[in-house]
């Protein structure tokens, strides 16, 4: 067991950031934390890499208590934080070398790893660029390389692909899957449900500091939504009439969109025939539908 959290709580004065969270992460798996902004995902991660101390409950990483063995825990994990915190005063190469020194890695060993990691993240040609000259995607790849400098057994990634172009996202996904094959444990947060579905073996959906549900992506889809979704783009005034007329089907309204859920694509034939002119999309249900169903479609 790489991470074990029991009744984990974090409170800041009046604000509850994480509320009685229980979960376990096995070695070599990819574990996802998803949830709206402010749900407590980052706080949970920071407790694991010892930047935030739990208020109560137990949290063990590599079998060690985070309150007692922060240094030993941090030596064995790598962190990709939500906000880039590369050292802008140093070049790409120096960022990795200086970071290696924080881990007490010798210069010689570090130089070899830096070369290999720049290669791995396709940054070799930018080794001597100052950090401010790198594009957003390059900075993110450099942060990934930096997180690997100590050959970690656990990598914590807080929204690793937010704001990146599809090429870089795919490169990062490839690398993460490669790391997983090497039996490295991954813990990640993301707002992209396709990413969570693609990478994660298990997922926790968090909302308002609590775990709403957890399971494998397919379990969660099977449990909470029907296999097919029909999206209709209609005026809210019209939506009420449609849902009343097809009250026997499960539906949800959000702004200009009306969603119907069904077991087969044929379930929607009646609706499609009755409203032939409405803009529509019929598709299989995804993790995103589960997410929106459990955490609501409203912005908070």
């Amino acid at each position: 067991m790489v991470i074990e959290a029991q009744a984990l709580n974090k409170r800041y004065d009046e604000v509850v950031a994480v509320d009685s969270l229980d979960f376990q992460v096995d070695r070599g798996t990819c574990y996802g934390l998803v949830g709206p902004n402010g749900a407590g995902k980052t706080t949970t991660m920071k407790m694991i890499y010892c930047l935030v101390e739990p208020t109560s409950g137990t949290l063990r990483v590599f079998g060690m208590n985070v309150l007692k063995s922060a240094r030993a825990i941090k030596a064995r994990l790598g962190v990709v934080p939500q906000e880039n915190n590369l050292d802008p005063d140093l070049s790409t190469w120096q960022n990795l070398m200086v970071y290696a020194r924080y881990f007490g890695i010798t210069r010689q060993l570090a130089a070899g790893r830096c070369r290999a990691l720049l290669e791995f993240m396709q940054l070799s040609d930018r080794a001597h660029s100052p950090v401010p000259d790198l594009s957003g995607g390059m900075k993110r790849r450099l942060i990934m390389a930096r997180a690997l400098i100590n050959e970690p057994e656990l990598i914590i990634l807080d929204e690793p692909t937010t704001g990146l172009d599809p090429q870089v996202r795919h490169l990062i996904w490839d690398r993460l899957l490669e790391l997983k094959e090497r039996d490295i444990t991954l813990l990640l947060t993301t707002h992209y449900m396709d990413e969570a579905q693609k990478l994660c073996d298990e997922i926790i959906i968090m909302d308002n500091a609590r775990a709403v549900d957890m399971g494998t992506p397919s379990e969660l889809i099977g449990k909470h939504v029907q296999p097919y979704v029909l999206e209709l783009r209609v005026h809210p005034a019209m939506a009420a009439g449609i849902t009343r007329r097809f009250a026997h089907m499960e539906s949800q309204t959000s702004g200009q969109n009306l969603y119907f859920y069904g077991d087969t694509a044929g379930d929607f034939d009646g609706i499609l025939a009755a409203y032939p002119d409405v803009q529509r999309l019929l598709r299989p249900a995804s993790l995103e539908d589960v997410f929106l169903k459990l955490t609501g479609r409203e912005i908070r």
């Binding site: 890499y49 930047l51 935030v52 007692k68 941090k74 590369l86 924080y102």
Partner: protein, 259 residues
């Protein structure tokens, strides 16, 4: 509760000190010349310019008297800038500290690294001034070899106070209060440009509580070869107060960085 003060700090703090040194060396041109400008102005404007209108002070030419004050303020001002604006920038704007404490390096080690780096910069700056003073012929006694270590301690004490302030403030603008309310009064009132004995007794007392007054007097006593027994008390006070402030700064920064 586990120790979060100086006792929990390992030599790993040197790894962060080295990071700062590496950045400093890369930007040396920007660091050396501007930081020399202020002490040079003091020497020429106050020491030589205004000094030419002043008769001997405490039995020595004014420039000889003021040299210790100029040296001391070169050390403390550099350390203060480094550990206020510099550290705050690394902490809040660049998030460098967060990156560092995600490794085995602790928040306490980052704090001690910043303080000792501020002290190093103060030492570097005042050493440049010492070289200029040597050329001006102000330094004549062998005891001057003890002045650089004293400058390191002076810079260290102000770096520690600065880190304590930096760890407590939400935005950089609060530094204006710190400079106006503490650093500048220290720079001018601790016997730097004229003897503390000019003040009414109550203010003299306050001045002597601030360790910088002792530091300036120690420096001046060495430079003018006027050793006296009070120097031992001054040295003890400087070391004890610096240690206490450093402990407070390390603990406070830990609370800021690990919540």
């Amino acid at each position: 509760m586990k120790g979060r003060g100086l006792l929990s700090v390992s030599p790993a703090f040197l790894r962060v000190w080295m990071r700062n040194a590496q950045v400093f060396v890369a930007l040396w041109k920007f660091n050396v010349f501007p930081s020399l400008a202020e002490p040079m102005l003091y020497i020429f404007i106050i020491g030589i310019g205004i000094g030419s209108y002043i008769k001997d002070i405490e039995g020595v030419p004014y420039i000889d008297f003021v040299a210790a004050g100029v040296l001391g303020s070169a050390a403390i001002m550099q350390a203060t800038f480094e550990c206020t604006y510099g550290s705050f920038f690394r902490m809040r704007i660049q998030n460098t500290f967060e990156g560092i404490i995600s490794t085995p390096v602790s928040a306490g080690e980052v704090s001690l690294a910043e303080i000792s780096w501020g002290a190093t910069r103060g030492l570097f700056n005042s050493s440049l001034v010492i070289i200029v003073l040597l050329f001006l012929g102000v330094l004549q006694h062998w005891q001057v070899v003890f002045v650089p270590p004293l400058m390191f301690v002076a810079a260290f004490s102000f770096a520690a106070i600065a880190i304590l302030v930096t760890s407590r403030i939400a935005q950089m603008e609060y530094f204006h209060f710190y400079f106006a309310g503490f650093v500048l009064p220290c720079q001018f009132m601790c016997g730097t440009f004229f003897p503390v004995s000019r003040f009414p007794e109550a203010i003299q007392l306050i001045a002597w509580v601030i360790p910088f007054t002792s530091l300036v007097d120690l420096t001046r006593s060495l430079m003018l070869d006027r050793m006296h027994g009070g120097m031992i008390i001054e040295a003890v006070w400087v070391l004890v107060s610096t240690l206490v402030v450093t402990e407070l700064a390390v603990r406070s920064m830990h609370r800021r960085l690990v919540r």
